[in-house]
Amino acid sequence: MSQAHRQLLLCWIGLLLLAAVQFGCAALRFDRSYRPLLLLPSLIMAALVALQFMRVRHGIAIVRVFAVAGLFWLTILLGLGMMDPMTRAIYPIAAE
C-alpha cells in the first residue's frame, strides 16, 4: 500500500467518524432554531472530500479558481437568499 493509499484510508476513516459524530449530535435535544448547525460536520466532510479525494490542492491554478468561484457564488446565493428570513423582525398583531 502506497503513501497515497494510506492517506485515502485515513480520510475515509475520518469521514466515517465525522458522520458518526453528526449522527450522535442529531440525537441531542436542542432548540429548533439551532438545528441547522447539524450541517457543520457536513461542511467539514465536504471539505475533506474536495481536498483528499478530488485533489483540489494538487490541481493547477485554474482548478482552484473554479473551485473557489463555485464556493463564492454559492455563498452569495445562500447568504443573500437567507438575509431576509434571518433579519426580518416579526411583530405580533395586536388583538382587536
Binding site: H5, L8, L15, A27, P36, S42, V49, G59, A69, M82
Partner: protein, 216 residues
C-alpha cells in the same frame, strides 16, 4: 508530440499533461455550475424551514434514517474505493483500477436500490405530497412541503448518481481493455471528480432530510 508517442493527445494541446489539465479544469467549471444548481435547492429548503419550522420538522421525523445513514456510509466508501483506483492507475496497475471501479459501481447500484426501496416505503406510508397524506392537522401543509423537497432532492441526486454509476462502469470496461496507463488516465480523473461531487451533495442533503427535523 506525434500520434505515435501520444495517441490520445489532440492537436490543439502542447502535450498530454496540458490536455489532462484542460479536461480537469473543464470538469471543475461544470461542477461549479452544479453546486449552484443544488444551491438553489438548499436555499429553498433553508428558507421554507425558517418560516415553517414545526411542520417541516414534523415531515422530517417521518424519514427513514436507517436508509439515509446507510447510504451516507456507502457513498463515502465509494469515493474512497474510486480514489484508491485512481492511485493504482497512477502506479500503472490497470487491473486494480478496474476492480476498484467495479466495487464503486456496485456501491452506486446498492445506493440506488436502497433509495428505490425507501421511496416505495415512503409512498406506501402515504408520504407522497399529493393525495391522502399521513400527517394531518395544523402541520399537514408544511409537512407536504418538506416531502416535496424530499422527493425532488433525492430524485435529482439519484439521476446524478445513476449517471455517475454508468460513467464508472464505462471506466472499468475501458480499464479492462487496457485503455489507461500510468501516463494517460484523464477520463479516470474526470469521472472521479464527478463521483466525489455527487458524494458531497449527499453529505449535505443527509442532515437536511434526515437529521434536522429530529430531536427538535
Amino acid at each position: 508530440m506525434s500520434e505515435d508517442i501520444a495517441p490520445h493527445v489532440h492537436f490543439q494541446y502542447a502535450d498530454a499533461r496540458h490536455q489532462a489539465d484542460t479536461a480537469i479544469a473543464g470538469m471543475w467549471l461544470f461542477l461549479a455550475t452544479e453546486a449552484l444548481f443544488f444551491g438553489g435547492l438548499i436555499l429553498a429548503w433553508l428558507s421554507c424551514r425558517h418560516w415553517q419550522q414545526t411542520g417541516f420538522d414534523a415531515g422530517g421525523r417521518e424519514t427513514l434514517i436507517a436508509f439515509g445513514t446507510t447510504n451516507l456510509a456507502l457513498l463515502i466508501t465509494s469515493s474512497f474505493t474510486y480514489s484508491a483506483g485512481l492511485e493504482w492507475i497512477r502506479l500503472g496497475q490497470a487491473k486494480r483500477l478496474m476492480q476498484c471501479c467495479w466495487i464503486t459501481a456496485a456501491i452506486g447500484i446498492m445506493f440506488l436500490t436502497l433509495k428505490v426501496v425507501e421511496w416505495y416505503i415512503d409512498i406506501s406510508d402515504h408520504l407522497f405530497p399529493s393525495g391522502a397524506f399521513k400527517i394531518t392537522g395544523i402541520d399537514e401543509g408544511d409537512a407536504r412541503l418538506f416531502w416535496s423537497f424530499y422527493f425532488i432532492a433525492t430524485g435529482l441526486h439519484a439521476v446524478h448518481l445513476l449517471t455517475g454509476t454508468c460513467a464508472v462502469a464505462w471506466v472499468a470496461m475501458q480499464a479492462r481493455k487496457g485503455a489507461f496507463t500510468s501516463k494517460w488516465y484523464t477520463p479516470v480523473e474526470v469521472t472521479g471528480l464527478y463521483w466525489s461531487f455527487v458524494d458531497i451533495v449527499w453529505i449535505v442533503l443527509y442532515p437536511l432530510i434526515y437529521l434536522i427535523g429530529r430531536g427538535a
